[in-house]
Structure formats: C-alpha cells, structure tokens
Symmetry: C2
Subunit: 477 residues, 2 copies
C-alpha cells in the first residue's frame, strides 16, 4: 500500500518534546488542508524508522491526534485523517420522529447549525476511555458479565454520590441512587414509582422531551408561567399538580437561575402535602460562566421532597447511556416495595468504565477542559453578537451552551428563522419549546419573537461565519 | 513475587499441540485441586522460558483457560486460578426485593441450587468478546460515541432480523425491530405503545416478572388456565383481554410446546378484534433436546398480530443488556407517531460488539457448544432422576434448562422444598410461578405439588451430588 510521505523536520534542541513536534506538525498539516480527509498516514513503525525516533514517540503523537479527533485508527488498516465534518453536531440535531434518512440529509444541508443541544466531542479523551475499557476487560471475570444490582453497582453509586455532594451539594446516600440507561428510561421508571393519575406541572417553556414523556404516561399536565425568578409558585398553587418538574439551576431554554427565595417557596409548596414532590432535572449544571455556581435545589431540601435527576450524556458523551436519579426516602421505599424487580439497564462493564473514569480524575480534567472551551466560545459569541444589540435583547448567557435573542422590532420567529435558513444557518425558535396544545392559552399578543442560538458544537470559525451570515440575513448592517 | 512452580512435561511427538498440552495440564491441575483458587500462575514469559516454547504458545493456553473460566487475568498482576464457586448461579437467584447483602449470604449458604434461571457462563468466550471490543474501540471514532437511532443501529437490527428468520422463522424487516436494554425495558416501552387501560391475559403459571411488570403498569390481568397444549383459548375468550402474553415454544415454567392447532386458535382470537395482540416471549428458544424445534408463533402470523420479544441475556450473558422486540406494522405506526422520541437505551459500542459477535459466527459456535453442554446435563439429570419415578412424574425435559417433578404421594411443595433445604439443596416450587392474588381461585383441592429443578449452572458433579442429597431428603431409598 502506498503510504503518504510526511516530511517532518525534528528539532532535538527545541523546548518541545519530539512527540509534541510530531503531533503539532501533523495537526497543522491537517488544519492547513495539506492532509486531506481519509488520507492514510505512514504506519507508526515506518514513521519511527524514517525519523529515527522510538516507536513509542510516534505512538504517543498518533494517540493524541486520535484522541483529539484529527486521526482515526482503523483496526489492521492504520491511521487515517478523520472526517472533520462528522465531528460536529453530534447530538440533538436529529429528530427521530422524522425518520432517519430524510432527516440526515437535511442535517447535512444546513451548514451552520446553532443547536442548543449539540455538544463538542472533539476534546473527548477517546484514548483514555478506550484504555480504561481495555484494562477492565483484561481484569474482567465472569462477575462482570453477570447481571448487576437493579439500582446499579454500589461502587459507581458511591462515586456518583460523592461527586454530587462535592459539585452540587446534593445530600444523599448511595442507596438512594438509581442508575439507568438515560433520562428517558429513568422517567419511565419514576412513573412506576409515582403511580398513575399523577398531575404534573411544568415550566413554560420547558424541555419538550420531558413533556412528551409525561404525556405518553398519560399524566395530566399543567403549564405554569415563569417570571424572571423562574416558575411562578402562585400560579402553581392554582393547579391540582402533585409533581412539579423544574430546572432550577439553569432553566431550559430560558437560562433562568432560580434564586433561593423562589426555591424556598417551591419547597414549601411541596412540603404542604404528603404526595407532592419536585423533580429537579439538573441536566447541565457543569457549565456556568458568570457568578457562583448555584447548588442544587435538592441541597436545600430537608423534607425529602426532591427527586434529583442528572446525566453523563451531556458532560461526557451522548453514547454514555448512563443517567442517575436520587430518590427521597419515601419514594425509595415505594421503589423497593414495588419496582425493585426491574433489572438494571446498564451493563456492569459500562458502569465499571465510568466509575474508573471519574475516580481516576479524568472526568474532572475533561470538565475543566470543556468549561474552558465553552467559555471561550461563549465569550466569542457574545462579542460577535454586539452588532445585534440594537435589534435584539441578548440573554441566557450565564450558563449552559446557548443564548437567547429577543426581537425588539416586532418581527416573527418564523420569519427570522426562515431568513437565517436561506443563508444556510439554523437557529431555533422559542415556539418549539412551548408545550403543544397548551401554547395558545399562554401566548399573549405581545409575546416577542425569541430565537435560540446554541454554540456547543461549533468551532470558533463557524461561530464567526454563522453570525456574519445571520447579520446579513437579518439586515443588521 | 513468588511464583507457583509448574512442572509440565511436554511431549513434542504427541498428536496434541504444545499449546493444548499446556492448557490441558493446567486445567487438570485445577480440576484435581492441585492448583487452588486465587493461586498465582507463573507469568507467560517465565513459563515460556522454562518450557522452551514461544510466548505465543503460552498466551494461547492461558487465553483458553481464561475464556473457560479456569483462570482469571488481573491487569498488571498476572493470571490467577479463578474462584470456581462464583461461576454458578449467575442469574435469577438473587431476589432484589430482599436487599443485596442479606440475600447474598443466603445464596452462598445453599450449596446445590437447582435454579431454573441460572445459566452456565463457564464456556462463554470471554476472550473473543474482549478481542472484539478491543478492535472496535481501536476503530472507534466519534460516531460510535454519539447517540444512535432510537430503535437501535440498523446494522444490528439487520443482523437480528436475519438471525430470527433463519432460526425462528420470524418474518420481519429491520425497521420493525426495536433494540432495548433488557426485556423489562422493552415491556415498559410496549406499554407506551399499547397505551393505558389494556387488559392482559397471562398463562397460569407464568413468568412472574412479566406479571409484576404488567401489574406495575396497572393493567388489569386475567389469569388463564392451561391444558397440555398450552393456554386454553376457550377460557381466554371468556375474559375481556385485548393482549395475551404467551410463551408458545417452551412455556415457562411448564415446558409445554404449543402445537400448531392451538396456535391457530390463538391467532384467530387475536385477528377477531382490531386492538387484540399477542406478545410472544421467546425467551430461550435456543435450547431444545427432543423433537424438531418449533418455529415461532410470529412465523404463522399473517395478520400482524404478534409482538415478538427475545433477549441475548440467556443465550449470551446476563450482562449483555440487549433485547429486541419485533413490532407488527400497526403497532410500529403507533410507536413512530407516539414513542419514537425515547432515546435508545443501548450504547452504540455495545451494539457494534454484539453485531460482530453474531456476524463473525461466534454466536452460532457458542450456541452449538452450549446446546451440547446443556444436553449432556439434561441427559445426566434425567438419568439421575430414574429412582424418583415411583414418587414423581418427570416432565418438561424437551427444551430449556429445567425439569418438573410432580408429586404422586400427596406431599406438599413446602414440605418437600424444606426437606431439600435441610440437605443444602434448593429446589423451586410451582407455587412461586402462580400469580399473586389470583392463586386462590385457580387452585383446586387436587392440585399436586410440583417442584422445579434447573440444571443450567450446575456442573455434572454437582447435579449428581445434588440429586443424591434430594434422594436422601425425600426418602427415596
């Protein structure tokens, strides 16, 4: 097989190690477009021989490039330049309801997708994850291939417990934690714990998928308006709801952080009746750019009223199908007596890999890296949006991975989104986060157009170019 | 570290390869008790040097011993004799309702556990599974870490489709298949597809976990008696059931195989009303010892009335949290319009590993191996049970991993199980497979005691000793 010649000039007297020099050379060649997608690189052995360096040096450089997504390692074939286009918009863009193929086409056709769900997988430590998996499989005995505890392995539950206490102030014991294959599954299980005929209150707008799940559970749903402090407890009191589903730390998609006063009101509401509970979806508590990170609502709950739900899909990777739910003791009792026969949905191998990833400090390191990455994009987007300030109020930028643009000129969401689309830019409409049949009654005549711009999966260049196109689309120049 | 000396005499002129000789020597030493649990073996390098063979030869022998469960490889530590006691009773024994620890104690205390759910993991090709996983992780790019299709990856669905057609006569397209993290999850999803207020009919006795799941869905449940051909359709007709949950190929736990006539009756019942469906749980269709394996009920269904559910937990390993459900088109439509937003509960990496395991022929090879293993145990148990024939009718031995002993002498199940327990033998009572509050009305005065003896996880020696103890316990000598 013909191998791509690479002419690297190494500088032994440089401050940089040989491995760094090789890594940077190849990375820059790819960035500059001198190495093209799917091109095969020289084998590590060949490159080591021709550069007169050790095989380990080349392996390290290649490993780093793979872990950063520049190269792809194909078993028994070698290293190839990775398909860069495939690295963005990992999550959230696909709407399964519309069927796979048709939709994937649409996905490709929109060049600058400001999806608020998409995350950046370019920095995911693939190599580390693979290494841990490999080590665990070497260690693996039949126990790891057996069915684990229904609530999840105690080791992982203990680790999650410690992590949640340290980072989110969550007070719980490992026995209160249930590990499941994704939030959707945990909400299904929670339905079995709560029982039927449970009336749920949701913020408006909200996370539409949770709304769909509650609806598919045939729960009556009350849509409760918000003010600048979050869900209005006075309005909540006028409903028959037993359960309120809230996102107090960073409401999705408004970005509102609920202050302590409102939290206390909400906890008071829940404490007034035995069967009232709050579901706290702390979906992306990890990323906050301004102000002190708020502890969880669960941290202020002394009455055992909060079901705390979180996931590793956002902070690690969508493919890590591991979420967790912390049950207050009254619900834990119900789970134990009525639902503990449901087998775990997460394999023990996956649980063990995740546990080591957290325990060995990789998770924290990755979060720190991503916080920095996202903050840079956040600052860039805020800066690029300066010329938009005359026409839009810009908000929601304290945390999370998106911002809100509220129109001041009386234009419609549909009109603005359509104009963007014509410039190959996808922005998201607040309308899509309001709940189905209930929209009409809550929408007033003076509701302004609000557009949602997510930046998680875009590169700085894409953010710049996307915003430049939006400027043109919306005639801001 | 002191390493165990092993004095292997190799015979270069033997028919057996050097690798086989090493493998057999160590295996026999372990079997004979000369190498004890947790003892460390010489490193592969050391053994290769001292035997004057290649490192690869030793690696192969060790690999084989690990894959058969004789040795355990611990990362960076070496090879150890595996804890044999841990290899049985992988599944089914644990009752999560009773809490982990207390129960695990009880598990250890019963020496000969004839669990009908337990499977034999001693022959699982751990090494192959690990190798595939490793290769896939080398190949893995960001796509594998992204969220897959809600129904599961098309590649795996296509493979399952082909497998089900070939082995079970199931007629379906990949688009009808939904992959999920275990049967329990798929039944929860099916509840969302079927909707609330669905009246379910179940065979009596039945798979109690499915009963519990339907009950936790608050479905009204009708318990329908069986005759020697399975569920009585005349009795089914007297219920208001829309859904019948059946196990036509090998009813659990009775072992009844439903003949074609009864199948046709059942399909006719389902076809009479638009909203009637049959759930076919084909939980362990892989193991049949007598007679031709029956095709699935789904294979005879021309009206789109059968939901076919199967799992890899039984045929591969309980930890493989991958099950599948084949939806008839009317239900597929409902899934698509109302439930397709539920994210997949199985990671793409796990789906890819399983897909290769099947496609590369390992699954078939493993099934063949296990069929042989289980048949040998089946024949042994049947033979050992000869002295029981005066006191018991022995049945259910055509398929699956257990047999039924029906008492002829008017003794009670509780009495017999208790006597067994005193000899450190656990047998299972038919009583436990009858459904909760409905038991009384269906139990007649002349119901005989039926005991269930599973043999999946026991070694031949354990079967012999367990039966010898039962003979003593039940005074059959």
């Amino acid at each position: 097989m013909k191998e791509l010649p690479i002419h690297i000039q190494l500088h032994p007297e440089s401050d940089k190690t040989l491995y760094e020099q090789i890594y940077e050379f190849i990375r820059d060649e790819i960035r500059a477009g001198n190495l093209l997608q799917n091109e095969k690189l020289p084998s590590a052995r060949f490159l080591a021989d021709s550069l007169q360096v050790s095989r380990t040096t080349v392996d390290m450089a290649y490993g780093q490039l793979v872990s950063e997504g520049y190269l792809e390692a194909r078993a028994r074939k070698g290293y190839f330049v990775d398909t860069f286009e495939e690295l963005y918009a990992i999550d959230g863009v696909r709407k399964p309801e519309q069927g796979g193929l048709k939709n994937r086409k649409e996905q490709i056709s929109i060049r600058y997708d400001f999806s608020p769900n998409a995350i950046d997988m370019r920095y995911f430590p693939y190599a580390t994850w693979k290494k841990i998996t490999k080590n665990i499989l070497v260690d693996a005995n039949s126990r790891l291939f057996s069915l684990g505890e229904p609530q999840g392995d105690l080791a992982l539950r203990t680790t999650i417990c410690r992590y949640l206490h340290g980072s989110r102030g969550v007070n719980c014991a490992p026995e209160q934690i249930i590990i499941g294959a994704g939030n959707d599954y945990l909400l299904l299980l929670l339905e079995k714990i709560l029982g039927r005929h449970v009336h749920v209150a949701m913020e408006d707008p909200t996370y539409v998928k949770a709304y769909k799940i509650f609806r598919s559970c045939a729960y009556p749903i009350s849509v409760v308006p918000m003010d600048e402090n979050g869900i209005r407890v006075d309005c909540l009191r006028r409903t028959d709801a037993q359960i309120a589903y809230v996102m107090p730390s960073n409401q999705y998609p408004t970005g509102i952080a609920m202050p302590i006063g409102r939290r206390m009101e909400l906890l008071k509401w829940a404490a007034e009746e035995e069967n009232r509970y709050l579901i706290e979806d702390d979906y992306d508590s990890e990323f906050r750019y301004k102000g002190k990170p708020l502890p969880s609502l669960q941290a202020s709950d002394s009455a055992g009223k909060v079901v705390y739900i979180g996931t590793f899909s956002k902070a690690i990777a969508p493919a890590i199908r591991i979420s967790y739910m912390v049950l207050p003791y009254p619900l834990l009792e119900r789970y134990r007596s009525g639902c503990a026969f449901y087998s775990s949905t997460v394999s023990r191998i996956d649980q063990t890999v995740l546990n080591e990833f957290i325990q060995d400090g990789y998770f924290e390191r990755y979060l720190n890296k991503m916080r920095k990455q996202y903050r840079e994009k956040h600052d860039l987007l805020l800066n690029e949006l300066k010329p938009f300030e005359k026409a839009f109020d810009i908000s929601g930028g304290n945390a999370g991975l998106h911002m809100l643009l509220t129109d001041k000129k009386g234009r419609g969401e549909k009109e603005l989104a359509q104009a963007a689309k014509e410039e190959d830019v996808k922005v998201y409409r607040m309308e899509d986060f309001r709940m189905g049949e209930n929209t009409a009654e809550h929408k007033t005549a003076d509701d302004k157009a609000v557009l949602i711009l997510g930046y998680g999966a875009l590169t700085p260049d894409e953010i710049r170019e996307g915003i430049a196109r939006l400027k043109k689309a919306w005639k801001l120049e």
